[in-house]
Symmetry: D2
Subunit: 104 residues, 4 copies
């Protein structure tokens, strides 16, 4: 796990707190899609159709990540900046997460 | 599902047939990672740590896709070319799958 | 051009102002690499070697973008948040730029 | 430069030979766009607008790469397979180029 500065928004909750149910629903859907891909492989489904599903799961995961990042910037990073509470570390941390996302 | 030309390798099996167990193991691991991310969200884990895990899952899925693509080229596409059996469609189909992977 | 909120850092300069020379040097290098790829094509260089160079240019451009984004967050977004000057728009704008980068 | 198997299509030309003019035109356009980004930086253009242009250049380069890859598969790889002339090396090489593209 990344050694993080770990001080979320003002209320001590993570930035995604208000969207938690939606995030979990989307992740559950991704989990189901990954199980579906396993079935496709088990049933010797044609390679291209399996690849198409993997690309769809990748895009779905990226969308979840972008939503989490948006929440993080709006809450945790904003709070750190307006309170002056290790704002630079928080910003460097966000850029590092963005780099991992861009390179994944 | 992509309308695909759907004629796998010489033996009628998909290109990944020989690697099927390994592909399923990797996908099962990804499924477990996605479940793990749901737990992190449930436990209000700090946003950056959740993002780090999502990037890791994305890369793992990309690796599975690249392995499937390699198998597909070596078996299904090779068979289509050497047998002259709708080789161009098979190649166009592979390029479209690569484009989806690059853009996901 | 994106309709942007267009109020850079406190000094009215863009976030990258302090790194301007380095950014221009890196972009000039990319320009030279793209010219080099044109020469490779002109000289009928083998496809794979041309592709290798294009991937290298893509990564170089991504690095420039990530550096610009980091500067933008540290200056323009930070200033908007600490001054309360359309901070939400500035954050939404940054997330949209990150999405374009992830999807390019 | 990648140590490549370097035996293009049947006529000794690279796979993109028939599309050479179009490839060069697209690369020249990319070169112009990169010069344009340098001007934007020189003129202190707002960070987000510079980032938008970099994402556009990345996508344009990706499109050139995908077109080159398609040509390579249709010519160089096809020829290697149908002639039995180090087909496996040619396929492994293509997969490695695809991996670099996906990860860039």
């Amino acid at each position: 796990m990344t050694e993080s500065t770990d001080t979320p928004g003002t209320d001590g909750k993570p930035g995604y707190a208000a969207d938690k149910a939606a995030v979990r629903t989307r992740l559950r859907r991704v989990e189901g899609q990954v199980r579906g891909i396993q079935r496709m492989v088990e049933e010797d489904t044609y390679c291209i159709d399996v690849l198409t599903q993997i690309s769809a799961v990748n895009r779905a995961l990226e969308s979840v990540a972008l939503a989490l990042l948006d929440d993080h910037l709006h809450h945790c990073v904003s709070h750190a900046i307006s309170s002056g509470d290790n704002a630079d570390e928080k910003l460097d941390e966000a850029t590092a997460a963005i780099r991992r996302l861009v390179r994944s």
